[in-house]
């Protein structure tokens, strides 16, 4: 498996962090407590900040340090805190009841998706100037796992977390492989995510409140 070879000690650290990020996504998929979702997501984001920091150190790219700090503060701390405070606690959410596919089955599907990502991309020729080659299949796996979570969970919070995991996967690839991405673009992507999360939080809160006051689930939109 030449393609999984590690290039340097920095690359080793990066690979290790990436694997932990992947494990966080799997852990999320294998749990059905809302608190756990947010905890694993927060942990994953902190690991993402470590990855960004490593890439910044290896590439001597000051702009990446900014992204690293932003990731740590906003994704690692602020978003999980806000979601826990304004959604989970306030609405008294505990256990995800909108699980359409059992946990073990979704984990097996998830493992299949990871294998698929490795089969598809593990043997890709080395891109120019890449620090750690295993990042491509790992970040693709994380994206697929996030998408899977959005598909098999019906609850809004679970879908939100699924999307955030997908975004983390894409960000992992963007930060570590393409340290040369123009900063304005990376920052733009980052702020889009933040704005998106704020809007989703607001809408999820509004919907959940209407459900609570209106009694029962909302009717489907009239045809």
């Amino acid at each position: 498996m030449q393609s999984l070879a590690v290039v340097s000690s920095g690359g080793l650290l990066l690979t290790l962090v990436a694997v932990l990020i992947l494990l966080c996504a799997l852990a999320c998929l294998g749990s059905k407590l809302f608190d756990r979702y947010l905890r694993y997501y927060g942990l994953q984001s902190i690991l993402l900040a470590v990855a960004a920091g490593t890439a910044a150190y290896l590439d001597h790219e000051p702009a990446l340090w900014v992204l690293c700090a932003l990731t740590l503060c906003l994704k690692g701390i602020a978003i999980p805190y806000a979601a826990r405070r304004f959604l989970v606690r306030r609405l008294g959410l505990k256990r995800d009841t909108g699980v359409t596919v059992g946990l073990s089955v979704s984990l097996i599907i998830g493992a299949g998706l990871c294998a698929f990502a490795y089969l598809l991309l593990g043997s890709q020729p080395l891109a120019h100037g890449v620090i750690s080659v295993s990042i491509i299949p790992i970040s693709t796996s994380v994206i697929l796992l996030g998408a899977l979570m959005m598909v098999v969970r019906r609850h809004m919070v679970a879908q939100l977390v699924g999307w955030l995991i997908m975004e983390n996967g894409a960000f992992l690839a963007a930060v570590t492989l393409t340290a040369s991405f123009p900063f304005i673009v990376e920052a733009g992507i980052f702020f889009d995510v933040i704005a998106g999360v704020l809007i989703m939080l607001a809408m999820a809160t509004g919907l959940a409140e209407q459900m609570a006051t209106g009694g029962g689930l909302p009717a489907r939109a009239p045809e």
Binding site: I143, A173, I184
Partner: protein, 492 residues
Amino acid sequence: MILLPILASCLPLLGSVAGLLTSRAQLAGGIAVAAAVGSLGAAVAEAAMTGGGAPIASAGSFIYVDGISAFFAITVAIVVLLAGIGSIAYVHAQQVRGELSPNRVRAYFVLWGLFAGSMVASVETANLGLLFVLVEACTLASVVLVAIEGRTSGLEAGWRYVIISSLGITIALVGTLFVFFAATALPGSPEQHLTWAYLVHHARQLDGTGLRLGFLLAVVGYGTKVGLVPMHTWLPDAHAEAPSPASAMLSGALLNVGMYAILRYVVIADRALGPAYASHVLLTFGFLSVALGALFLVRRRDFKRLWAYSSVEHMGIIAIGLGFGGVLGLYGALLHTLNHAVGKAVLFLAGGTLVLAYETRQASRISGVLSSLPVTGAVLLLGSLAVVGSPPFGLFISEFTIVRAGLAAQSPALVGLLLLLLVLAFIGFMYTTSRMVLGEPKGQQRQPYPGRLGAVLAAVPILLGLAGLLVLGLWVPGVLNSLLMHSVEVIR
């Protein structure tokens, strides 16, 4: 020179400023319309500047306006202007009825400005990274517009919209990354590897596998925004639940912005992989969309959903036009973009009057619009005929051009299928709308607008748009023709 694109995309933000300052719908709306006129003017000036000449470009292609950009900017700006005029009447009427609180009116115009500005900005960049950022910004600005009337169903539609589009747009980001990887072996600074003009110029040296994957992901990702089947599932709900002028902007402008993004990738893929690959992908998605759109037009009960499915169908037709390729196919697809934009803006704005007058979106509860609201009824009837592609309106010409492109591309079976689906769409669409427009007035109905001014402001954009469709059907003005030909040259 570089000021023009900035002006075109920043002027609509004046509408946002107006929304922050006042909650009087007519004042804020008036400022928004003035800003939209300015934005359209700037877009037209861009077209004049770039016509046949060098593109307006900044460093890193963060701002990049060539013929294609100018054409799409004009299309978006026209819809923004028509929807802006319609917004004054609609929002004011809803405010007087107490459906929209002053704060929601403010929010409406703030988001209207952001939405319009980010759409115009999206089509004026050719940096693939920034394109992603701006298209996502369009989504985020429009999501809250969908849910602004505060119904549970609206919130639900907004939620579905934001979740599905965000998922799609993340896929587009991954596609962008793959295209970037495909270019990493090229000489030049990494900054350049995201710029469209550089990628097109060096298309032959791009890594084929990476580009193939990147292109497919980009089409799926931005196709979510366009509403290509099977990524269209957010579209009918969002179009139905949004306030009607916002629906007009979603259908007429936002879908086209997604198409613009796909078009940029098509050019790169065509140069690098040969025309067959992109063409097959686009034809597949295009036919799926036309087929599903046409089938779902049959016996739709909610008229705004009917028009939403018709948008899916039209986006499919545009994809088919791009897929057939050649001068005819590309010309037809671009012309269809403009025609679709104006046609859908007219229908959704007229739909706003219906929603206000009948307080329902159920087509079966509406009858005899022609006699109770003569202007709206006449526009609805003619607009529906235009949208399904009857002569003498513009959509007939563009659909005919695409059909001819198919014959030129030696695929008579596909052309036959397309014609069959178009006939089905015609029947499904006209069955519902003709029963709304004709017949005896029945059911409860109230005065749609509180004053004469509102009624006039509601009538102006739909009459203007209908006149525009008629002109486009009879004759493509020379200026537009040269802009289209120039864009086709850029694409080929």
